[in-house]
Symmetry: C2
Subunit: 331 residues, 2 copies
Amino acid sequence: MIRIAIDAMGGDFGAEPIVTGVIDALKEYQFHAVLVGDSNVIKQYIPQNFSQNISFVEASEVISMADGATDALKRKDSTIFKAIELLKEKEVDAVVSAGHSGATMSLATLRVGRIKGVLRPAIATLMPTTQDGTTLVLDVGANVDCKAEHLFQFAVMGEAYAKEILNRNHPKVSLLSNGEEECKGNEVSKEAFLMLSKLNSFVGNAEGNQVFDGSVDVVVCDGFIGNILLKTSEGVADAIGKIIKKHVKKSPLAMAGSVLMKSVFKILKKQVSYDEYGGAPLLGVNGCVIISHGKSNAKAVKNAIFQAINFADSNINLAIQKRLAEFKENA
Amino acid sequence: MIRIAIDAMGGDFGAEPIVTGVIDALKEYQFHAVLVGDSNVIKQYIPQNFSQNISFVEASEVISMADGATDALKRKDSTIFKAIELLKEKEVDAVVSAGHSGATMSLATLRVGRIKGVLRPAIATLMPTTQDGTTLVLDVGANVDCKAEHLFQFAVMGEAYAKEILNRNHPKVSLLSNGEEECKGNEVSKEAFLMLSKLNSFVGNAEGNQVFDGSVDVVVCDGFIGNILLKTSEGVADAIGKIIKKHVKKSPLAMAGSVLMKSVFKILKKQVSYDEYGGAPLLGVNGCVIISHGKSNAKAVKNAIFQAINFADSNINLAIQKRLAEFKENA
C-alpha cells in the first residue's frame, strides 16, 4: 500500500482543511496516510470511528511564510523537516505539503537528493486550457537564473511527466519565448532551443497565450519567468472577475442575468481553480514531493494526494534518469 | 500646429481603418496629418469635401510582417521608412505606425537617434486595472537581453511618461519580480533593484498580478518577459471568454442571462481592449513614435494619434535627458 506523509499543519489555514482532505482521499482510495504535526490538534479533525490507514508522526514546529528557506534546514522538529525525513528513510513513498514551498524544495533537494543526472529540480504546475485539458508549465519558481542546460533538463522532466503521469503518449514540448519563430528568444532561450531540438517531442517556441489554448502539452521556462506567468494569469482572471462583479452590481438587469449565468460562472471558476489540479510536483528529486498551494482547501489537498499516488505508482523518476543518461552518452 | 506622419498602409487591414481613424481624429482636434503611402489608395477613404489639414507623402512599398526588421533599413521607399525620415528631418513632430513594429523601432532608433544618455529605447504599453486606471509596462519587446543599467533607464523613462503624459505627479515605479520582497529576483533584477532604489518614485518589486490591481503606476521588465506578460494576459482573457461562450451555448437559461449581462460584457471588452489605449510609445528616441497594434481599428488609430499629440506637446524627452544626466553626475 502506498504510504504518504502529509505536512498536516503547514498550510495557511492550519490543520483543518488538510486533515479533512486526507480523510476525503482515504474514503475514495486505499493508501496509508502519515500525518505529521501535533497529533492532539490533528485528531480534532478526524471523525470518530475513523482510524483505518492513518498514523501520526509528532512535530512541534511549523515553518512560517516569514521564515527563510535555509532556516528550515536547521529546524529539525518542524512538520516539513520530519515529513521529508520519512521520505529520505523510505518510510513513506511520497510527501504532500501545503507549507513553505521554498523550505519544502530545499529540504527535498538536500535531504532526499536529486535523481542521478539532474542538475536542478523544478516545480511544475498544471494550467487549464480552453480545450478542457491542461498544460504543464515548468519551472514555476525553483530556479530564478537558468542556463540552457537546465531548461533542457526541465524539458526532459516535463516530457516524462506528460507521458508517465498525464498519459500523453506523444506530448508536445515547447519553450516559452517572445515569438514562435526560431530566431526569437533571449540568449539563454536561443541556446536552449538548439538543445531542445534533440528531443523528438520538441515543437519549438511557444508564446504566453499558448499556455492556455491547448496547442502544447509542456511549456518550459526559468522559475523567474514561470512565477511571473503564474501571477500574471491569476491577476488577469481576478481582474476580469472584479470588473464583472463591479458592473453587475450597478444594473438590476445584469444582476438578474448573472443569476441565470450562475452555472456557467461555476464551471469557469472550477476550471481556473487550482483546487482541481492538486499541487505542483517537484520534479528531479529522488522521490515524490507534491507542493500544494498554501491556501489549499480540503479538495485541493485530496487532489494533491491523488496526484502523489499517481506519481509514486509510476516510473517517472527512473524514466527521467534513463532519458538524461541517454543524452549524456550521445553528447 | 502639431504635425503627425501616419504610416497609412502598414496595418494588417490596409489603409481603410487607418485613414478613417485619422479623419475621426481630425474632426475632434486641430492637427496636421501627413499620410504616407499610395495617395490614390488613401484618397478613397477620405470623404469628399474633407481636405483640411491633410497632406500626402508618396511611398510605394509596405514592409510586411514576414520581412526582417533589418530588411526595413534598406527599403527606402517603404511607408515606415518615409514616415521616420519626415521625423528625422523635423518635417513632422510625431509618427504613428501600425506597421511592422520591429522595423519601426529599428528605423526610429537608427535614423532619428536616441535621446542623449539613453542606452536603449523601450516599448511601453498601458494595461487596464481594476481601479479603472492603467499601469505602464516597459519594455514589452524592444530588448530581449537587458542589463541592470537598462532596466534602470526604463524606470526613468517610465517615470517621466507617468508624470508628463499620464499626469501622475507621484507615480509609483516598480520592478517586475518573482516576489515582493527585496531578496526576490534573478541576478539582473536584484542588481537593478539596488540601482532603482536611487529613484524616489521606486516602490520595490511588483509581482505579475500587480500589473492589474492599480497598486503601481509603472512596471519595469526586460522585453522578453514583457512580451510574455502581454501574451499571457491576452491568452487568459481570451480563454475566459471562450470558456464562458462555450458553456453559455449549452444552456438556454445561461444564454438568456448573457443577453441581460450584455452591457457588462461590453464594458469589460472595452476595458481590456487595446483600442482604448491607442498605441505603445517608443521611449528613448529623439522624437515621438507611437507603435500601434497591427490589428488596429479606426478607434485605436484615433487614440494613438491623440497619444502622439499629448507626447509631442509635452517635455518628456527633455525630462528623460535631464533625469539621466542628473544620475550620471551623481554616479
